[in-house]
Every structure is written in C-alpha cells, then in structure tokens.
Subunit: 457 residues, 2 copies
C-alpha cells in the first residue's frame, strides 16, 4: 500500500502548495525547533527508567510512575491533569527462574530463561519432563496427544529475518508465545518452553504475555534465549536430550487498583472534539521499559509541553494519555473507552506511539476513504522531518478500542530494525534510546496532532 | 530536492511496471534474502573491531586490516583480490593527553579532551595560556590580533540541533575543527581548544582532522567534550577562568607505505565498464571505527559475497574497494583515481558507504540530467527495503575524485540521528552497530550496484 500512497501524496503536492500549507509548515517548524532544542522528553524518560524502573501493572513502581507522569504533565503546562481509575491484573514473577537441559552424558546445560507473563508457576520442586520440539503450530497439531502428553513442548518458531517490517514477523511467528502454552495443554503437555521473539541470536530471554484457554489446564511456560533455542534444537536433533527442567515462581494475585494518567489542553474553538495521543505507562518487569513504552509516554507528554511553550493554541482538545496495563491486560484502554462512551465524548482522532523510540519513518492509519484524502494531503509536510509514508495499518492496542467511537486511529511507525533486539528483555533500557531519534518521533507526532487540531478530520 | 524526486518516482511508477522491472525486483529480493539470512558482514565487522581495533593510517593495525579484508574478499569469492599501494601520512597520538582549566579560586577542573588529528604536540611541559571564547568564525576575525595574541582560542561553535540532517550541521558548524587552529594562529593564538562536533551533551571528546595553513605557525589543538564546553563557557562568562592548560604528545612521522584493498567480480558482458563500491579501512584511533567506517567496508565486501553466493552474474565489473587514509589524508582515494586514469579505465558508477551502519533511508547522487531519468525509474524497487528517496547530494570523499572519470557518483544515506553521538569518539564501537540495520544498508547497496551492472548508466 505504501507505493500507492506515495503516488497520491506526490500528485497532490502540485495542487496543494497553498498558503494554508505554508502556514502549517511554519507552525510545524516552530514545534520541531522547540522540541529539538528545549524538549524535556529525554530527561523525563531518564527519570522513568532510572529513578523508577520496571513498571508492571499492580506494582509499587507502576503507582510511582502514575504520580511521576501526572507531575510531568502539570509541569508541561496541561490545562487539566487527572487520573482515570481501572482495575488491573497483578502478576508477579517472584524469585528469578532457573532451568536446564539434562543431556545423555549426565551433564546439565543451564538455560537463559524467564517465565512468560501471566503464567502460573511450577510446583515448588520445579517441573521436569521430556522435551519435544515443534517448529510451527501445524506441527503441534500433527503430533497430537500421543506424542505430546506428559512432555514440555519446545516451540522453536524462528522469526523470519527476511521480513523488513519486523512487527509483521512478530505477528506471523509469535504464536508459540501468544497461544503456545494453551495449545500445548490441549494435547496434554505439562509445560512450554518458547524460543524468544527476537530476530538476532543473543543471550537474552524475552518475556511477554500468553493467553491460556479456560478449557484446558494452565501449564507453566518460559521463554529461552534465541541462542539457547538454537543450541537446544541441535541437541534434540542429535538425540542427546534426556529432559528439560525449569522452576518458575510467578503467580497471579487479585486484581489491583490503578490508573490511566491524562493531561489535556482544551481546544479554543471546538473543545468537545477530542484528539488523543498516548503510550503505555506499564512495562515488563525485566528492564526499564525504555522503548516499550517509556518512549511513547514521554513523547505524548512532550506534545503538551511544546504546544504550551510555543504558545500555539489548538482549536480542538488535545489529550495526552498514559495508558495503564497494555502489556498484560489492556484494562487501561478498556477504561478509557468506557469513559468515552459513557460521557458521549466526541473522539475524532487517536494516535499511539508504542513501537519504540527509534527514528520515525511513517504513520499507519485506520481510516475511511473520505478521511484518507484529507490526511494524505498533509504527507509532504512531513518529508523534512524524515516521515515519508502514510499507510493503512494498525494503530495500537491502547487506542484500538476507540474504533467504536468512529475516531480515525493512527500509530507512529519508527524504524523497526532494532526493536526486537530489546523488546521485553533486560536490554530495554534508557541507554538504548537515542535522544535525537526520540525527539524526532515527538516532532512528527506533534505535527500530526496539531494538523488534526487545526483542520479537523 | 527530495520532494521533486518523490513526485518523479511516483509518476513513472504507473508507466514502468514492466516485466523487466518485475524481474529486477525478483533478483533484488534474492540478494536481500541472502544478505539478511546468510550475511557475513556483521561477523566481519566484529573481527575488524574486536580482533584488530583502531586502524589509523600508518599503524600496525591498519596493516592488519589490509590483510584481513583481503582475506575476507577472497572468502567472499571475489574473482580477483589485490592490494593497491599508496603512501599515507603517519600521525601518532602518543601518550594520552591531559588538560585542565585553572579557576580564580585556585581550583583546577580536568577536561575530557583529545588532540585533534594531524596536529603538532605541545612542548614537553605542555601549553598554558589565557583562554578566549569565540562562538563562530566571524567573532574570531572581529576580535583580531590584539585580543587573540598569546592566547588559547576556545571555539565553542554549537551544532544546531534543529538540523534534521546532522551531516549538514557538521558541515555548517564544523569550521572550529576544520580550520580553527589555522585561523587562530593567523591572529597569534598559541593553541586551540575546540568544542567537539557532537550535537548531544556528553562526556566524550570527538577527534578528527584539521588543516594547518603553511603561512602561519602550526599550533597545538585539542577537542573537548560538549559537556566540558558548556561548563567552560559558563565559567568564562562568570569571569572565573584564569588560564587553560593542556599537554598533547602527538606528532607527524614520515609518510608510510600502505594499500587500498580491492576485490572484483568480472562482468560477463561488459567487463571494462567498472562499478566501484567502497568504504574506508582506516579509522580514528580512539575507538574501533565500527560505524566509521567498518560498516562501509564490510557492506562492500558483502555485496561480492551475496552476488557469488546467489549465483547472480553481473554483466559489468563490480569492484569492492577498501580505501586507505580517508580520515587524515585521502591518499588511498588519490591513488585509486590515479590508477584509473593511468590505465584509462572506464568507470561508470561509484558508490560509497561512509555515513554509518544505520538504517538506510536513501541515496544521494552526483549525476547529469540524462542519467537522472534512468536512476529515478529504479526508486520504487527500493521502497520495500526502506529506501524512499534518491536525491542530489554529495557521494563521499573516497569516490569523489572519480568525478574526473565522468562516473555517476553516489552515497548511501543512512539515518543520521545517532551518527554524531559516536563519530570519531571512543563510543564508535561494534556494540553501537545494529546487525539488521547494517545488513539492510548492504541490501540496498547491493540492489543499486546490481541494477547499474544489469542496465548500465
């Protein structure tokens, strides 16, 4: 689709170099210059990462992050800052997991592993069982109960490195983690061991959420590093593996109270037309959640700051939302939608940044053809800031539910090459976010949000 | 210019979806899949960075790199591999530099500094003098001899963070290092202290080359970190600075023999038409030269490997060149041109990768209008691999001299946001190159080189 959009944008370029467009580019430059020169988002991100750290839903750190971002929004100059309550799942990892492979020469090979989010822990003594490898979900089905019963299923589904869009690879090769444990349980497996969803071969286990199926037992499940997955596959092929063992100490506690954090600039002309821009405040517990999604959170706050600092007054209401519980429940997004419907709010546009703080390359949109024409006219305004495509595509799991309101939805598309190096792993730390890339993302988000606020949709 | 090119590329897209174009896209996909799956460039880069390390011209490491890349080219399957001799400047840093600021409260503040490349060292006892700040070159001229004589000039020229293309900022705000010491000497300065050419505020001094003017004395010169530059500027404004002191131990030795390293695949139909693709093998001595320019070197070797591994036989000769001495002399590039002219070689195209191993975004070209039309038709073939623009612009300092042969020149344009975080500093290490970004650069380079080999120019 990108090609078609590029054509469209090019054709309109000739007919659209109006003075309105010129005025828009002046305003966007003003926002860009301010963000690149005076932006507070990198400092805010440092605070979230280094002063707070991991922010899994229900944790004390998540609550600290609620208070910290409310403060940041106030300092950014938001007209109103408030907390929107929601109940969230409260999963805890407990003591660090351990696990190994028992080989036929009596040796043990320790694995780099971590429990998959929302899973049950093993019994106190851990789980030991023969291990069986599958390379895709069809293989699992083909093997069936006879081969799988009583075993640990090793989902060794490799993310295809030839995908240029790594998020597409995540979707196409992620089933081992998303639904693997549930599917394995269906065939009588006692545990699941999943190759981490990372394209490169490295030492880090990458966690993430899995969904159990209530019709089958909830079995313990871990992710192992891609390096260990390659090693294990070789050992299995050489028939050297006796069994796998792991012990996880995680459990689900009762739901806990938490909040979305919201800061608004009230529109001067059409205050009832609402533009949402957000990221998620919770993060996995293995690292600082710098790219996932401290980036989106601090970029969203930055838009409020930059509009206020430059004295640009949006015609429509701009609302920065720090969604809670994106990682393992989506309860913040549900609460936000519920409130919007209950209050009969008029949502016209919602933009999410949850693909990392990397250099922006484009935006993806969920939109109707009539809106598309208006949006595509704006694309040339973004070329100077490194955004070259507007394409159809998903928005994000936090703004997604707003589909029901009829709003146009959008997602920032940063360069995706590095994302799965660090995604949900111990390497998602502040040091792996570039100050300028983060800021340039905010520049493009601010430009888009401001254009919608100025011209409607 | 980018907008105009985008329009052009879009318009031709309708008329150019021919079967030839389809066949081209199949071949490019074959190369891309092979590089992304089997590419050796990341391993080669690791070797250059970790097994050899810094590779300044004339050093033993530079010679090791000559032999190592010749071996890599042979392993890649090049039909011919040879060394092309050149004499190179041989500058050595000597013992690590030291320096401080003497404040009026008797305290000393140690600076993060390094000698600028190709400079003379201080006297054995170091250099101590009052320090005077200038914020641009015009200020220096305005101050004149009376203000400057006997002093150390502090060039505090800030790289404008609002530039989106950071290389343009490097050009526009780099004079303090490029010619600052020579200009300061003209007004009687005894030394120069230059704000590092880095946009962010950090602790690292960034070296690089300077050019003395033979009409004036060669004065010692250092770069200080941007953080120290900000601090020093504040102290000067508060009138707290008594003097600056630094001691550098560098010197220029007699020219040394060295080599360009060249590997070729001979064209099957037009072997006399030569396509050059290259990067530079030498690097500054403070780090591993991973992005500058281990990336370009290993990407160039990779093109040879991928063509051979996929069995794609180019019609024209493709020559991968590892240029020596880009950083502080350009003698390898001179030798390459001289050989080309002497042998009356027919150079049709030369591509350089010397802007870091970051995600590719486009190519810049030095070309005549007749060539432009042909090139622009190819742009849509690159969209799938993340390259969205072909624009007019510089190629690179190693292929630049080939302008004399009439060849079309080109440079890979990776995302430039992170480049000046690490450029010429201790942070330009292997860990700061992303495997996938590096590979994706090679994919686009291979596609462009192959298209020229297939269709001519």
């Amino acid at each position: 689709m990108k090609k078609i959009y590029c054509i469209f944008s090019a054709l309109v370029l000739f007919s659209f170099a109006t003075s309105a467009q010129n005025q828009d580019s002046v305003t966007i430059k003003k926002l860009a210059d301010d963000i690149l020169t005076n932006g507070k988002l990198y400092d805010n991100l440092r605070y979230l990462c280094k002063k707070i750290g991991p922010r899994l839903s229900g944790s004390a750190n998540a609550q600290k992050a609620v208070l910290a971002t409310a403060k940041m929004l106030k300092e950014a100059g938001a007209d109103t800052v408030y907390l929107q309550p929601c109940m969230v799942p409260h999963w805890i990892r407990g003591k660090k997991e351990t696990g190994y492979i028992q080989l036929d020469d009596q040796s043990k090979y320790n694995l780099q592993l971590c429990a998959i989010g929302n899973t049950v822990g093993t019994a106190v003594g851990g789980l030991r069982a023969p291990v069986i490898e599958v390379k895709n979900m069809a293989e699992l089905q083909k093997l069936g109960v006879d081969a799988i019963k009583g075993k640990i299923v090793f989902f060794n589904i490799v993310m295809d490195p030839t995908y240029i869009n790594t998020f597409q690879a995540y979707g196409d090769f992620g089933a081992g983690r998303f639904t693997g444990p549930a599917q394995a349980a269906k065939y009588g497996a006692v545990g699941a061991m999943v190759r981490s969803l990372s394209i490169n071969v490295n030492d880090y286990p990458h966690t993430g959420v899995t969904r159990y199926d209530d019709a089958y037992p909830k079995i313990p499940a871990v992710c192992i590093s891609t390096k260990d997955a390659n090693w294990l596959s070789e050992q299995i092929q050489s028939k050297k593996v006796v069994s796998a063992y792991f012990k996880t100490n995680c459990k689900m506690l009762p739901d806990a109270p938490s909040y979305n954090v919201i800061g608004e600039i009230r529109g001067t002309e059409f205050p009832d037309e609402i533009i949402t821009v957000g990221g998620h405040l919770d993060s996995w517990d293995l690292a600082e959640g710098a790219n996932d999604d401290g980036s989106g959170v601090t970029q969203s706050i930055e838009i409020i700051r930059a509009l206020k600092a430059t004295g640009i007054k949006p015609l429509r209401t701009i609302r920065a939302v720090m969604f809670m519980n994106e990682e393992n429940g989506g309860k913040g997004a549900d609460a936000y939608l519920e409130n919007a419907l209950q209050k009969k709010e008029h949502h016209i546009f919602a933009l999410e940044s949850d693909a990392g703080g990397f250099s922006p390359r484009g935006f993806t949109f969920e939109m109707t053809p009539d809106k598309e024409k208006k949006l595509m006219q704006w694309l040339p305004l973004f070329y100077n800031y490194g955004v070259y495509f507007f394409s159809k595509g998903g928005s994000g799991s936090d703004v997604g539910p707003l589909r029901k309101t009829g709003a146009v939805l959008a997602g920032l598309s940063p360069d995706s090459q590095r994302y799965f190096d660090i995604h949900h792993a111990a390497t998602d730390v502040f040091e792996n976010v570039s100050e300028r890339e983060l800021k340039l993302g905010a520049v493009n988000m601010a430009a888009l949000v401001w254009l919608v606020s100025e011209h409607g949709l």
